[in-house]
């Protein structure tokens, strides 16, 4: 899964981030064009977190995700075409069009699903970590959640239990500064990473726009988890460049963040930044980066175009999910 050659590995990181970026740029355009049936929450600007973490995982590890789940899905190996089809509500979607953007899941890849309930994935990942512990095969459960979700009490319940049971659990808080339209300072007191310590769980802060820093922190946490020493909370500082939900300007009457703030964070774009690093290091030259981006964009666009041609599911398919049906 993880290539041994450091250069290949870092190109994979870039590839992973570019895939998410290009896929979501497509979804943003689709939304603007009125081509999406429901709401979408884009991950643009946070790619380094999903990719940095998932690069350290393999398919047998479990993840749970959030309403902002495309990035986690793709980084964990989810198929872009099946994701587009799902967001388009097609029967070829990864969930057959039943789930949509907020519920993309691929159990075969260890993706237990995006989740429309803020904080909902925390307990699920804890359960997956329990399963992993029982399996005894050094698998782990990883939970992605937002800074807003850190206000849900279930986080402290999970920290408590994970500490007591030494669960192989990785709690990854993506602190993007906002809980919908509320700046974190208004809804989160003190430090999120710090909340783990009183339970005896290490809490680490990391630059969430630095994919290698995220990967490194993850590797450390995984070593702990796979070695039987228990959980870690990683707080990754990042920023969402798009709104909370596409189209939010249609219903919001006031601006909730300054344009300069967005621009400042654009300057720390995790994808461009890592591309520049690779160029600097001589791993890739600028042309190669461009070629890679172009290649990924083409693949993503082709996946999306093709998914958009797929049929919608038939209402009769609903029968399959009635209780008692096989």
């Amino acid at each position: 899964m993880i290539p041994n050659d450091p250069a290949a590995r870092s190109i994979d990181l870039l590839r992973g981030m570019l895939t998410i970026r290009k896929a979501e740029e497509r979804l943003a355009r689709d939304f603007k064009a009125g081509a999406l049936p429901g709401p979408v929450h884009l991950y643009i600007g946070q790619e380094a977190v999903a990719v940095g973490v998932c690069a350290q995982l393999d398919a047998r590890d479990w993840i749970t995700s959030t309403h902002r789940g495309h990035g986690h899905f793709l980084a964990k190996g989810g198929d872009p075409r099946a994701m587009f089809a799902e967001v388009y509500g097609r029967s070829t979607g990864i969930c057959g069009g039943f789930g949509g953007s907020m519920h993309v899941a691929d159990v075969s890849k260890g993706i237990l699903g995006a989740n429309g309930i803020v904080g909902g994935g925390i307990a699920l990942a804890s359960g997956a970590a329990l399963a992993a512990q029982l399996d005894g095969a050094q698998r782990v459960g990883v939970c992605f959640f937002g800074d807003g979700a850190a206000a849900q009490g279930v986080l402290s319940e999970a920290l408590n239990l994970a500490a007591l049971w030494k669960l192989p659990l990785l709690l990854v808080c993506e602190n993007n500064g906002f809980s919908e339209f509320s700046p974190s300072s208004g809804v989160i007191a003190g430090s999120i990473a710090g909340r783990a310590e009183p339970f005896g769980v290490p809490g680490r802060q990391v630059d969430g726009n630095d994919v290698e820093a995220v990967a490194e922190a993850t590797a450390e946490a995984l070593e702990r988890a796979r070695g039987g020493a228990g959980a870690t909370l990683i707080e990754a500082a990042t920023y969402r460049i798009h709104g909370h939900v596409e189209g939010e300007h249609a219903f919001l009457k006031t601006q909730y963040r300054a344009d300069e703030e967005i621009e400042r964070w654009r300057g720390r774009d995790p994808v461009a930044r890592f591309a520049a690093t690779l160029v600097e290091r001589g791993t890739l030259d600028a042309a190669a980066v461009e070629a890679l981006a172009g290649e990924i964009e083409a693949a993503v666009e082709a996946a999306a175009d093709s998914a958009a041609e797929d049929p919608y599911p038939e209402p009769a398919e609903l029968d399959r999910h009635l209780l008692g049906a096989a």
Partner: protein, 326 residues
């Protein structure tokens, strides 16, 4: 009378009640930004003392609403999407709905939980419930299910003034619809339904968002089939306006219950129980429920459309009822 969108009528109700009684306060996630528009402008107008954006902590804010109400305030607690009532369910079920009985009336709770429910916008499985009966079954909390802008305003004002808890469930997909709102201090009592359309042939009790398709079906049936449907809007799911429903069925002898909830959790149950007990002698045909299936709402538009009752489903049920003779 003024023509307004339902969401603006709700906004007016909140503003007027906050103006009228300074002990009315509003708490909830992003009530300042207001994703539905129902709380828009209230933070600016009444200030952050009385209008409070909260963290994402439904278990806490649900219980705080109870505590602040017990300690003398009239609390409106906004739970956003109705599915989040489940996250706050303990506060509502184990505390709000029973403190009056358990303290022998020492504690009365002027608290209104407000949320938006129902499907129609591809919000998918965790954002489309219409959980009025789960709350109605608690027994100690009024459940208001407004169907029109006027009733939304009138019921909400009454809810806020009530000394017992109320769950006020507005239909997510109907907030933008226009309706007539009486001028002045318009209030609607809890527990009193209304006849939305008179007719002598078949009674259709239509809950909340289902009123409009029921009325549309009634028009079609009058024009195409010469069937005169009496459409009854119960307005509160708990307590039910038994007299009104029984009177209508006494006249028509035939009953259809239309509810956007899942069959097993719909008002078809309580209403059928009422009529099959107290109106049995007047019933001349089977009571036909028109509800969604016993599934969460699916994402893809054709699935969602097939699940949620529409005018054609209602008209078909009415025709079926008319055809039965006993």
């Amino acid at each position: 009378m003024t023509r307004k969108r339902m969401i603006h009528a709700i906004n007016d109700a909140l503003a007027e009640e906050m103006e009228r009684d300074e002990r009315v306060i509003l708490i909830g996630e992003d009530v300042g930004a207001s994703i539905f528009g129902d709380t828009r402008g209230l933070l600016a107008r009444f200030g952050p003392r009385r209008v409070r954006d909260t963290p994402i902590s439904e278990a806490l804010i649900g219980g705080m609403a109870v505590g602040a109400a017990a300690a003398g305030y009239r609390v409106v607690c906004h739970l956003m999407y109705a599915n989040f009532v489940y996250t706050a369910f303990d506060a509502i079920a184990n505390q709000a709905a029973r403190l009056r009985l358990m303290t022998n009336g020492q504690i009365r709770l002027p608290v209104t939980f407000i949320a938006a429910g129902g499907g129609g916008r591809s919000n998918a499985g965790q954002h489309s419930d219409y959980p009025h009966t789960a709350v109605a079954g608690l027994g100690g909390i009024y459940v208001a299910t407004p169907a029109t802008a006027g009733d939304a305003k009138g019921l909400l004002k009454t809810s806020i003034r009530a000394d017992d808890p109320v769950f006020f469930l507005q239909p997510t997909s109907r907030g933008g619809e226009m309706g007539e709102v009486p001028d002045g201090d318009h209030t609607v009592p809890l527990g009193k339904g209304r006849v939305a359309r008179e007719g002598g042939d078949v009674t259709v009790v239509a809950v909340g968002a289902m009123l409009r398709p029921a009325l549309r079906a009634a028009e079609t049936l009058a024009q195409e089939d010469g069937i005169e449907v009496e459409v009854v809007d119960p307005r509160t799911a708990f307590p039910l306006d038994e007299t009104l429903i029984l009177r209508s069925v006494g006249k028509t002898g035939r009953l259809i219950v239309v509810d956007e909830a899942r069959r097993a959790g719909s008002l078809a149950g309580p209403i059928a129980a009422l009529v099959a007990e107290k109106g049995f002698a007047t019933l001349r045909a089977p009571i036909i429920p028109v509800t969604t299936r016993n599934l969460a709402i699916a994402y893809a538009p054709p699935l969602e459309k097939a699940m949620i009752p529409g005018p054609a489903d209602i008209a078909a049920a009415v025709r079926r009822s008319k055809e039965t003779t006993t």
